[in-house]
């Protein structure tokens, strides 16, 4: 059956990526990773996934191009405005009681969520006491996040979302338009550490009051999702907050009991006392 052959090829290709480059997609949710690999195969005009594997094993320059397919993430600023409104109205009042804060945007991709969070914290007067960690496994995505430049045609949607999230300022206060691009103010990343970090293979690196990891774990299988949630659990301070994507849930996780639902409709959880 060709279908089984393809499954064997996927397993071997993911194993090759891991052994050769230490990128570990072996426990990603299989249906999505398969779609992405088949897209990459046809984009690179390869007769088979085995041929794609041979190419990436022998040609390191193929790696970033393939990573672009495997980690592609499209987001928007203030995506799901209700989430940011809930942070603003229900979570930040708790965070305000801390003299200093650490916030982790896990799987930050090209930075849309990071800049949203930085603007939210600035509007609420918490920016100066906060250190943000923005992490991703894709170096190209991290570079894009650090640059903070987006096509101007995306700004209308960003602005609309920002308003719906209860924004207290105008989004245009934070960027300058330049040849069809919106360049976000570098002061927004003054307190940001950009770092290569893998939820699959790396460990806890700081104690956080808030972790936001949205639409990242939907790409993991259940075992890997358990590992990531376990990592968040260990990384969170007492009563720390965890936000996940609007259609994600900790309900099917091994660590479900370690969290309470703080804003259930926006998927914001709070770590219970140990």
């Amino acid at each position: 059956m060709p279908h089984q052959t393809e499954d064997i090829e996927i397993g071997l290709l993911l194993e090759a990526l891991y052994q050769r480059y230490h990128y570990d997609f072996r426990h990603y949710a299989r249906a999505s990773i398969k779609r992405r690999l088949l897209q990459a195969r046809s984009h690179f005009n390869m007769p088979s996934l085995t041929a794609l594997q041979e190419r990436v094993l022998h040609d390191p320059e193929m790696l970033p191009r393939l990573l672009g397919f495997l980690t592609v993430q499209v987001s928007e600023m203030f995506r799901d405005p209700g989430y940011f409104r809930a942070l603003r109205e229900q979570v930040l009042p708790h965070l305000r009681t801390y003299p200093s804060l650490k916030v982790w945007i896990a799987g930050c991709s090209a930075g849309e969520e990071l800049y949203s969070m930085a603007i939210l914290f600035r509007e609420e007067g918490l920016f100066d006491r906060t250190l943000f960690y923005a992490t991703d496994i894709n170096p190209d995505a991290l570079r894009a996040a650090e640059a903070g430049i987006y096509p101007l045609d995306r700004i209308r949607k960003f602005t609309e979302n920002h308003q719906k999230s209860g924004g207290r300022s105008s989004l245009s206060d934070y960027y300058t338009a330049d040849y069809g691009r919106a360049v976000f103010d570098k002061s927004l990343r003054a307190n940001v550490v950009f770092s290569d970090h893998s939820l699959v293979t790396d460990a806890v690196f700081a104690e956080m009051q808030l972790i936001s990891c949205r639409n990242v774990m939907i790409y993991f299988d259940r075992g890997l999702q358990d590992r990531a949630v376990g990592l968040f659990r260990e990384s969170l301070a007492r009563h720390g907050f965890l936000g996940v994507g609007s259609k994600e849930s900790l309900r099917f996780s091994r660590h479900a009991a370690a969290f309470s639902e703080f804003v259930p409709e926006e998927k914001i959880y709070r770590k219970r006392e140990a």
């Binding site: 279908h3 949710a29 299989r30 249906a31 999505s32 398969k34 779609r35 992405r36 592609v72 993430q73 499209v74 987001s75 639409n215 774990m217 939907i218 790409y219 259940r222 999702q225 994507g245 259609k247 994600e248 849930s249 309900r251 099917f252």
Partner: protein
């Protein structure tokens, strides 16, 4: 997982889809033995009313699909707006926020192709009314994996583009008027 159902129905619909599904789903018995997965294109702000709307009309349990949720027989799962819905081979549901395919997220093709991998000849794919080409490649994949391909008769559909494209992509598809589709599904169950 051995407890996961070995057959399933996938349905794709777009323009006119709510009405078509209101004709189809309530005609299925409350003890329908397989899960049903549906991608229906609707404006994002209206989608979360789908499950309650159909639940009130159907004997079957109707819900919005959640990520990592184990599939159960006799449950109707709607893809949430702005996410692709996929079925994993272990019988769990999966969501993805990958880019839109043919301007659609959720995409009928993405659901049908993943379900064809997961269920093979146990899958029944149904394309209903719609004004775009989504689902044509998906229905072809359902048939290629040995599953049953059904298309609503385009001449009687609210919008004929989608069923027509599906029939063109998948010549072997059985073309049925909407009111016969539920009977056909019930007939498969008795086989």
């Amino acid at each position: 997982m051995s407890s996961a159902p070995d057959r399933a129905v996938v349905i794709g619909a777009s323009a006119g889809g709510v009405q078509a599904l209101l004709a189809l789903l309530p005609a299925l018995p409350a003890d329908f033995p397989w899960p049903i997965f549906i991608v229906l294109h609707v404006p994002a702000d209206r989608s979360n009313v789908l499950a309650p709307l159909f639940e009130a009309q159907c004997g079957l349990e109707v819900k919005e699909a959640e990520d990592k949720e184990p599939v159960r027989s006799g449950v109707v799962y709607f893809a949430p707006s702005d996410y692709h819905l996929l079925v994993e081979e272990n019988g769990d549901l999966a969501l993805s926020s990958d880019e839109a395919i043919n301007y659609s997220r959720p995409s009928i093709d993405v659901l049908f192709e993943s379900a064809a991998d997961a269920y093979g000849e146990g899958l029944i794919g149904v394309i209903l009314t719609g004004a775009n080409n989504d689902g044509a490649a998906g229905l072809k994949a359902v048939h290629a994996a040995g599953g049953v391909a059904l298309v609503q008769d385009p001449t009687a559909a609210y919008a004929r583009t989608m069923p027509q494209a599906a029939r063109q992509a998948c010549n072997a598809a059985l073309v049925l008027p909407l009111e016969r589709i539920a009977d056909y599904l019930k007939g498969l169950e008795r086989e």
